[in-house]
């Protein structure tokens, strides 16, 4: 009789554990990443998709700058859960990925300055950030709106982050141009890069 009761008790405990295991997702193992370096390239958006400029000239209406941030993984937070029954035996669980990469720092601001005379309103060394926009989910948003977004969460080890900014208001006249980009991070670091001189035709 005692054996029968004990068997029922064990069976009940196992069943309960089996059911609860559906909701018993293991906490994802969190890594952190940081912005390590930064370069900027001229892009030609004449075609269906933007490409790195290979020629010395680009149509001024199709000009853009590709911001390439190299990312570095820095910390792993160990998080080991305990369970009698492995999650593999559970029913359809909607658990987050086992590993996620969170930003240690974020981009606080992106400032674009023209190194040549852009137009009458924007002489050499003027800020022209408002003339560029970021394409996000099918619509153009300002660079300021883009930097207000929280940092991205990655589920695979991040290597780089690419942001294309497009010149929405082209210069009135054709000519040679280059742009200095200053990126300020939330930890006060500043990356600067000046694009190659390009002829906007």
């Amino acid at each position: 009789m005692k054996i029968k009761k004990l068997t029922i008790l064990i069976l009940l405990a196992s069943t309960a554990q089996f059911i609860v295991s559906c909701c018993d997702c293991v906490e994802p193992q969190n890594f952190e990443y940081t912005y390590d370096n930064f370069i900027a390239r001229n892009i030609d958006n004449s075609g269906i998709d933007p490409i790195i400029a290979v020629n010395d000239s680009i149509p001024k209406e199709a000009y853009g700058i590709r911001l390439e941030f190299s990312l570095k993984q820095i910390i792993a937070q160990a998080n080991i859960g305990f369970s009698f029954s492995p999650r593999a035996y559970a029913w359809d669980c909607f658990c987050p990925p086992d590993v996620q990469y969170l930003p240690k720092d974020t981009i606080s601001s992106i400032v674009i300055t023209t190194t040549n005379d852009f137009d009458n309103q924007h002489p050499k060394t003027s800020e022209v950030t408002e003339l560029f926009k970021v394409l996000s989910q099918g619509k153009y948003i300002t660079i300021n709106d883009y930097t207000n977004h929280p940092g991205r969460i990655y589920y695979d080890a991040p290597v780089e982050e690419i942001v294309d900014v497009f010149l929405i208001t082209p210069p009135e006249f054709i000519g040679e141009h280059s742009f200095k980009i200053d990126v300020t991070l939330s930890d006060s670091r500043v990356f600067s890069f000046t694009t190659k001189t390009i002829y906007l035709k």
Binding site: N45, S46, G47, I48, E61, L135, Y140, L167, I168
Partner: protein
């Protein structure tokens, strides 16, 4: 083998019935499945880019799953339901994509999508269904049977949505355009006179030939929403469709005399 068995059964029934004595009672209740072809007599054309998103303009096959008629004397009442499957319409999505490219392709790269893509799939190619109810009158003489009907009902037509993202050739310009009628299905009041000529091949089986005329008003409004992403400006255009649509169907089937 299945078709052979059906044909053999029909021939057997026919031969038995031809030799049988004609002592049929007047029909009181029949059901009538049938199959045939529908020919549109008019076209839905507003001259708009959305013309291809309403599609009742092609020859199609109809399947009448059920038609049930009850008679009191020679008068009766009938309920019928059938669906048109547009078998000649497997590339409607590609045609819509071509229409968009023809209009905008000089200046833009177009990435186009439409629910017609799914309508074209082999799993979901029902374009419109029809249901009707109305009075009928029959003439019976020996093995011959003629039924005239004037049914009223609805024709439910699928209207597809469409959208495209236009990327400027040689520019950063992006324009999003949506076309939507607001409803996936729209019911249209339908007048459906028809005639069936039947021949009794057995006591409870009638081989029949069907002629159908359908008339309904199409009344749609497609809204075209054009959003210039660069300027963050949106404009809309309304495309009105108001046609009287007519179609003619021929088909055949069997009546099963239940009473």
């Amino acid at each position: 083998m299945k078709y052979f068995a059906i044909i053999f059964t029909l021939i057997l029934s026919l031969s038995i019935s031809i030799n049988a004595k004609d002592n049929y009672k007047p029909i009181k209740w029949v059901v009538r499945p049938s199959i045939g072809i529908t020919f549109p007599l008019t076209k839905v054309q507003g001259g708009y880019i959305t013309d291809g998103l309403i599609d009742v303009t092609k020859k199609s096959m109809y399947l009448q799953y059920i038609s049930s008629t009850l008679f009191i004397g020679n008068f009766g009442i009938e309920f019928t339901y059938y669906e048109n499957k547009n078998v000649s319409n497997t590339d409607r999505f590609n045609k819509f994509v071509n229409t968009v490219n023809n209009k905008y392709g000089d200046k833009y790269f177009a990435e186009t999508s439409s629910s017609s893509y799914f309508q074209d799939s082999e799993y979901d190619n029902i374009n419109f269904g029809k249901g009707g109810l109305g009075p009928v009158y029959k003439f019976e003489k020996d093995r011959w049977l003629v039924i005239a009907r004037t049914l009223f009902g609805v024709t439910s037509i699928t209207t597809d949505w469409g959208s495209t993202t236009l990327k400027g050739k040689g520019t950063n310009e992006i324009i999003n355009i949506d076309w939507n009628s607001g409803k996936n299905f729209k019911d249209n009041v339908t007048f459906n006179p028809s005639l069936t000529i039947g021949y009794r091949i057995a006591k409870r089986i009638v081989l029949d030939f069907d002629l159908n005329y359908c008339m309904y008003n199409i009344n749609y409004k497609y809204i075209e929403t054009i959003k210039n992403v660069n300027l963050d400006e949106t404009t809309t255009n309304n495309y009105y469709y108001s046609n009287q649509f007519k179609e003619f169907s021929v088909g055949f089937g069997f009546m099963f005399v239940l009473k």
